[in-house]
């Protein structure tokens, strides 16, 4: 069992600990404030972590999950074979797939005629990427600014995914 240590009396006085906290926050304030002064910013290194977005783009990690895309074959068609793996595993159930007939060149047995992802419902968990057997769906577009004027634009289809 974890024994609770009694609080020392000097901590229970409040004031010393309050002053220590005050020292920490005001240290941050003064370092950052002086760091913004043009001449001094070489001497005092400010700890500000803000990126001046949108002027400065923040570097996005390769593992970052964003808007979806489909991998293409060499002829430009999607690698998806409409196996429903992604839509089954999707916890948000935001993927709607309708399968179509075999392609004429018989590379695959099925092709998706409709592959809709509702970006509002998507939770960006990346499970569809894990589940895909054909390496078709990816979330590495690094697209984070998804802005439209109407909500229906956020249901993206094959055309958008293959862009």
């Amino acid at each position: 069992m974890l024994k609770k240590k009694p609080t020392p009396n000097w901590v229970r006085l409040y004031l010393p600990e309050l002053l220590r906290g005050f020292y920490i926050t005001s240290k941050h304030f003064w370092i950052n404030l002086l760091g913004f002064i043009p001449g001094l910013d070489r001497v005092i290194k400010k700890e500000v972590v803000t990126y001046q977005w949108p002027e400065v783009e923040r570097p996005i990690s390769d593992r970052w999950r964003g808007k979806h895309r489909h991998n293409r074959r060499e002829d430009g068609s999607t690698k998806c074979v409409a196996c429903y793996c992604c839509s089954t595993v999707c916890p948000a159930q935001c993927i709607t797939i309708e399968a179509g007939e075999t392609r004429e060149d018989a590379v695959t047995e099925k092709v998706p005629t409709r592959f809709d992802i509702n970006l509002f419902e998507c939770v960006y968990c990346g499970m569809c990427v894990e589940a895909c057997p054909c390496d078709a769906i990816y979330m590495d577009t690094k697209e984070m600014r998804m802005c439209e004027y109407t909500p229906d634009k956020f249901v993206i289809g094959l055309k958008e995914l293959l862009k």
């Binding site: 309050l18 005001s26 304030f29």
Partner: protein
């Protein structure tokens, strides 16, 4: 009553306007300053994007956010919930804002200043003369006080205003017809009780030491020197009282360690939950005015008000170090005797006002830092701190103050002889 009484009345009205303008502009700056300061504390940049598009995208560190906020809140929908007391819902923010300004009537912004000039007809003074049409202004030996009302019960006035501050909160909470608002109002009322008493008691020490309830007299007596070198500020004579007063003051204006009435994580936004647009802005603004009020009171009662250490209307003098300098020794003043000393005195008064403003801003800075350093107390912790720690401590402080006064009275000749004050 002679002419000068009426003139004083008019000048006091004018000065009230000036003080109102100064305080409200400082409060407006604080709405931006607090956000900027917290962002620096948290290693961010803070508001910096509002700009003047037509003047080369000027940003001025986000100063235009003040205007942008005002415009935004004014144009927002004014929402009154169903089942609310309509007039009370409207009156609550007005009372909060109005009352918080009133306390500045007794704050001395700078030292007393006597104009020694000739009498002039009003028409000769371009701006001021409009208020006194066709009169002769007796400007010879005309005392000017930078204080709207020199009340001899100044401290009590501030306390009374502070006691009335809770009404805006209570009315807002009651009129909103919302359980969260109601809880916030209840918390505010009970907190007020717990801390109002301690606030009054902590000031009593200061009243005893400086032997007055008049704020301008208290400030003036803080100009004395202990041991000939330490300024007799409240913080020196009553350090415990300062800590207690500051704590209770933070409670009174509902700043963060004690902001249970609005506690976002518990009761959403407390008493101003049902407010939007301009009325919400009024609550926010009154909070900043109260902040400045507490800062000004701390400066006046404990940090010498407008007193600049060792500097007076006569000159600079530090007795123990034998530094003596009279303004009349300045060559320029000696050359233009009458006008010169007048202008120097004016400059001293302005410097005092500037020093007071500096103290107030410094306290505002401290309070904002306090806000972003300490977490909110739990409600029962606030009550326990108020009744079981601060109240007994403030009573102990009164006993201490009485002891100091007695010792000072008894050994006055000895002290004067040995220590020279």
């Amino acid at each position: 009553m002679n002419l000068d009484a009426l003139l004083t009345l008019k000048l006091q009205c004018l000065w009230a306007l000036v003080a109102f303008g100064a305080v409200s502009s400082l409060a407006g700056l604080l709405t931006w300053g607090e956000r900027k300061q917290v962002s620096l504390i948290q290693d961010r940049i803070g508001p910096n994007r509002a700009n003047l598009r037509f003047i080369r995208n000027w940003r001025l560190f986000g100063l235009f956010h003040i205007i942008a906020d005002a415009v935004k809140s004014m144009t927002k929908e004014d929402f009154v919930p169903a089942g609310a007391y309509k007039w009370m819902h409207l009156l609550a923010p007005l009372i909060s804002l109005g009352v918080s300004f009133i306390a500045f009537a007794v704050v001395p912004f700078a030292g007393p200043f006597t104009i020694r000039w000739r009498d002039v007809p009003a028409v000769e003074i371009p701006l001021l003369g409009q208020f006194f049409p066709g009169q002769t202004l007796h400007l010879s030996h005309f005392p000017v006080s930078f204080q709207a009302a020199d009340l001899n019960v100044g401290i009590l006035f501030v306390l009374a205003v502070g006691a009335f501050l809770v009404y805006g909160v209570l009315m807002a909470g009651f009129a909103s017809n919302n359980k969260f608002s109601f809880l916030g109002a209840m918390r505010a009322a009970s907190q007020m009780f717990s801390y109002e008493i301690a606030l009054g008691l902590s000031i009593i020490g200061v009243i005893l030491i400086y032997n007055s309830t008049n704020l301008s007299v208290i400030v003036e007596r803080q100009g004395a020197l202990i041991f000939g070198i330490i300024p007799k500020w409240g913080i020196v004579t009553q350090p415990l009282a300062f800590i207690l007063f500051f704590t209770c003051g933070l409670m009174e204006i509902k700043r963060i360690p004690f902001d249970a009435p609005e506690g976002e994580s518990e009761i959403v936004a407390g008493y101003f939950l049902e407010y939007s647009g301009a009325k919400f802005m009024m609550f926010l603004f009154s909070e900043y005015v109260e902040l400045i009020m507490l800062a000004a009171m701390c400066a006046v009662l404990f940090f010498g008000g407008w007193q600049i250490p060792f500097v007076s209307q006569a000159g600079i003098s530090i007795p123990l170090l034998h530094v003596q300098f009279a303004w009349t020794d300045l060559p320029w003043v000696a050359a233009h005797k009458a006008l010169g000393i007048e202008l120097v005195n004016l400059a001293v008064v302005l410097a005092q006002a500037g020093f007071f403003a500096f103290k107030v801003v410094a306290f505002c800075w401290i309070m904002v830092t306090v806000r972003w350093t300490f977490p909110r107390f739990r409600y029962d912790q606030i009550m326990r701190l108020g009744w079981r720690r601060i109240l007994p401590l403030s009573m102990v402080n009164i006993v201490l103050a009485v002891g100091i006064v007695l010792v000072e009275d008894k050994f006055k000749p000895v002290i004067q002889k040995v220590l020279g004050y």
